[in-house]
Structure formats: C-alpha cells, structure tokens
C-alpha cells in the first residue's frame, strides 16, 4: 500500500506543539530587519532549545537516577548532599556533558546569529534610533557611569559586550540583539513583544491590589523595556521610569516605546544601587524588578533593596519577579539543573541569589515582616499565537516563563 499523502496544514497546525514561527513576533520602529534565512536561523535555534528541554533533559534525568546518584553513593558511602555535589557529579556523566555542550553552543550560535543581523545594519539602526530619540529629555544618559564588576566581568547569557558596551556613537547594537533574538531562549513564551512578564505583573497587581493607583513607577534593570512597558500601558496616568546601566539598552528602549505609541516613560542610565543623586526619598509608588536580581551580587542586592525602601512612599509597593528560590523540598537534580545558567551561561550570581533568604533581606532593608508579599505569576501572552507558560509542561530549568514574586508594602 502506498504511504498516505501528508495531511494538510490544518491537521499539522493542530498537532504542532512547540515555539511559534518567529514571524509572529511584533515589530516596531527600531526592530532590526531580518532576512528569510536570519528568521530561519532563529527558528532553528528556538527549536534546538525546545528539543534539548523536551527530548534531551529527560535522558539527563534518567542518567542521574541510574548512574550519577548511585555512583556517587557507592564512591562516598553516602548520598549526594547538595546541588553542587549533584552538578559536579553530573559533569563526569556523558548525558549531562553532551546536553551541556549542546545547550552552551546553542546560546553561542544565538548570540552570533543575532549580532550578525544587527551589526550588518548597525548604521541604519542607529540612525533610526537617533531620529526617534534625539533631543528627547526623557532619556538621561551618564557616559561617566562606572559599570560594576557583576556586569563588567562576565557577559551575561554569553551576550558579547553585555548591556553596556557601545560600538559607535548613539549605539543601540546590543539592545537590538537582546530584543530581537531573545526569542531563541524564550521560544515565544513571552509573547509578541517579549512582554509577557510585564503583563503578568500587571495582572497580578490588578488582582491582588485592585485599589492601587500608582502615579510614579520605577523599574530597575529595565533594559529595553520588555517587562516595563506593560506597566506604563496599564497605568497611563502614571509615569514610568526605567533605570539601567546600559546606554544601548535605554536608547533602544525609548525608540521602541515611542514607536509603539507609549509616551509616559523616562529612562535614566544609573546604577540602581545608589540613586540618591537622581531621586529623593519617597519618590515612587511602585518599584519593580523583573528577572533582574539574579544578575547582581549579594552586596548589590542589599543596596538595591535598601534603595527601593528609601524610594517608596508609605503605602507604596516593591515587587521582584524571579525564578523560584531553592528550597529543601526541591529535588537536588532540579536544583543542579537550575544552577546550570550560573556556571555555564555566565549568570554568576544566579546560584547564590536563589539560595538567599529574600524575606530576611527585605526585612534587613527596612520592610516590615508582616507587610511582605509572596505570589506566583506566569507569562501572559496572546494565546492564539504563543504557547501558554501556565499550561506548558516542558521544564527548561530556570528559563520557563513561570516566576515567583517577592515584594512588600512600604
């Protein structure tokens, strides 16, 4: 019997489970132009991450259970005691080593792919950003700003030049790379404008703090505004200020926001550790960070918590959105896998941050123990086009759009 002809698009579409085509991503005035092949490179790399998470990680887990943990127990006459022992034991296992090598090189390929697209059109992109931002006093840059070691020493997520490096006057290269090709890592879980995290925060606030009507909102480490702009959109009467270390991020953020018709924003290049020269005490109703704390250091986190306390008016709120903390009931395998980004994807503070007692740090910063906030949020996206993180059962340790909220009412 001849093989049946392939079924047509409808059934393939209903059967398909995976990242959307990159072509559904939302474009704006400074979004880089992407050729057919550049789009397909991004699609391939997003599928690589999906494949590694959905089809290779189960084998890594099986090898851990069958070989790594029993082997450690036999050698040491005791079980693996913590996530560091688990990770180090796995390094000698071919399943973990092969998965790690592939995951690392997928990130490196993604950076090269995104940088190629942006650098080849850098002059045009910078001109577009300049046309949108020139003379706009809502963008305040500080060329003398010293980049702290926790950002300067290691390029986060293997992104060459990180958030701050500039290659030309008025440069937006690294902002454009970060924006358009982040899809490779998120696989569309953050939605059309990579803003599912921001929409999730807004939804959480509306549900839990229905009477909250902020006028002054501050997002620390807001980069190109992915998670920040939904706040500005949700509260049009408010003014949102984004603080970031990186000038290429902030230039790009302003151009992007304006081209999307969002005008109630300001952008300030500064270290969030010390904003005394920029903002007086009690200047804000709301201080927000989204997937930011893990890129700091212990000292910086404490400084930033203290700054957020200083900057909030009484009754204002601070919310930090992060991947969940390590707790004793989280299996050591999961902890070790979540630690991968700390050791192998240039996110050096990830591991230590996720074991910190954040409640204690909030109290240390001056917040009252009985006014702390805890919650869970999932990326909020257009479900017609994008996967729903709350329903997605694929575990891509540390990268899924499912986060924990820790915060406080000042």
């Amino acid at each position: 019997m001849p093989p049946s002809p392939p079924t047509r698009a409808n059934s393939a579409a209903s059967e398909y489970d995976g990242p959307p085509d990159f072509r559904v991503i939302g474009r704006h005035g400074v979004f880089p132009e992407t050729s057919h092949d550049e789009i397909e490179r991004i699609n391939f790399l997003a599928q690589m991450n999906r494949h590694l998470a959905a089809r290779v990680v189960p084998g890594v887990k099986a090898a851990y259970d069958a070989r790594v943990a029993p082997g450690f127990a036999a050698r040491h006459q005791r079980p693996i005691a913590n996530r560091h022992e688990a990770r180090k034991a796995m390094l000698d296992d071919p399943a973990f080593a092969t998965w790690s090598a592939l995951r690392r090189m997928t990130m490196e390929q993604r950076q090269q792919a995104g940088r190629w697209t942006v650098i080849r059109q850098r002059a045009a992109l910078n001109a577009r950003a300049r046309a949108l931002t020139q003379g706009d006093d809502r963008l305040v840059l500080d060329p003398a700003l010293e980049i702290p070691r926790y950002v300067a020493a290691v390029d986060h997520h293997c992104m060459p030049g990180s958030y701050h490096t500039e290659y030309a006057p008025d440069d937006v290269t690294n902002g454009a790379n970060y924006d358009h090709a982040g899809f490779v890592t998120t696989g569309g879980l953050l939605g059309k404008y990579s803003d599912g995290g921001g929409h999730a925060v807004v939804q959480w606030v509306r549900r839990h703090l229905p009477d909250f009507a902020p006028r002054k909102i501050l997002e620390l480490g807001g980069t190109v505004g992915h998670s920040s702009l939904p706040l500005a959109q949700a509260f049009p009467e408010a003014e949102l200020t984004i603080v970031d270390l990186g000038a290429p991020m902030l230039r790009y953020a302003l151009a992007r926001a304006k081209s999307l018709g969002i005008d109630n924003i300001r952008l300030v290049q500064a270290s969030a550790e010390d904003l005394r020269a920029r903002f007086a005490d009690q200047s804000f109703d709301w201080v927000q960070t989204t997937m930011f704390l893990h890129e700091l250091s212990t000292r910086a986190l404490r400084n930033i918590f203290a700054e957020s306390h200083r900057l909030l008016r009484p009754g204002g709120i601070v919310l930090h959105v992060e991947q969940p903390q390590y707790r004793p009931d989280m299996p050591l395998f999961e902890q070790a896998m979540r630690d991968w980004d700390a050791f192998y994807n240039n996110e050096p503070f990830w591991s230590r941050m996720h074991e910190m007692d954040l409640d204690a740090e909030m109290i240390r910063a001056g917040f009252a123990a009985d006014r702390l906030i805890h919650g869970d949020v999932y990326g909020v996206v257009d479900r017609e086009l994008f996967p729903d993180a709350a329903l997605d059962t694929t575990e891509d340790y540390g990268r899924k759009a499912a986060w924990h909220v820790i915060g406080a009412v000042a």
């Binding site: 397909e40 690589m48 090189m105 792919a113 650098i119």
Partner: protein, 121 residues
C-alpha cells in the same frame, strides 16, 4: 563597512572563561557540526519557501516534486553530486584509512631531520 564589522564582531567571545564539557577538540567538532546543522535547516526552509511560492503562483503543481523523475542525464548529474559531496565530507575517513596500511610512513618533521646536514639542529 557593516559587512566587515559583522564578519569581525558577530562571533565575539563573551567575557568570562568558557566551560568545556567534552574533550575540547571533540566539543569543537560538535560545535562546528551543530552550526552546519543550523545552516542546513536554513537551506531546507529556503527550499520549502521557494516551493510554496512556486505553488502559490501556479508554477508548481501539488505533488510535482515528489513525482519528479529526472531523465537519464539529470539523474546521472544528481547522483554524481551526491558522490562528490560524500567524498568531500568523508575525506578524513578516507585519508585515515589510507594511512592505516602505511605504518612506516614518515612525518614531514622526520623527513626534515633525515634531510638535515650533520650539525643542523
């Protein structure tokens, strides 16, 4: 010039010493292989795009590619392309197999030593 900048800078090494998970030479080969897999996917999608555009314009009928039967000359050209391609890709295997039956073959450095005059280092 933007192309030259992209060529120079797109593959910049990120700050922070790179971890190696496999024997480094093996991991390099795997990295090269995965980049080629990426580029193969890109070429595949480009061919698929072309087919869909040709179908949409009525230049290619449904099933025409699967039903395609090259004539003898085209068939020979295509099979020769396959042979050439495989021979290029597997050159190292072929050369290593050649070497396997030449256990006494000298290296270039050994020949250089042989050719050296007395007193030459």
């Amino acid at each position: 010039m933007s192309f030259a900048d992209a060529l120079d800078q797109a593959g910049a090494k990120p700050a922070g010493k790179r971890p190696w998970f496999l024997e480094p030479q093996v991991e390099k080969v795997l990295a090269i292989t995965m980049t080629l897999a990426q580029e193969l996917a890109v070429v595949h999608q480009r061919a698929d795009t072309l087919e869909r555009l040709l179908r949409a314009k009525g230049l290619l009928a449904e099933g025409e590619i699967d039903a395609f039967a090259p004539d003898a000359a085209a068939s020979a050209e295509r099979q020769m392309w396959n042979q050439e391609f495989i021979a290029r890709v597997l050159r190292i295997v072929q050369q290593d197999n050649e070497a396997a039956v030449m256990p006494d073959e000298a290296t270039s450095g050994e020949i250089a030593d042989d050719l050296a005059e007395p007193g030459e280092a």
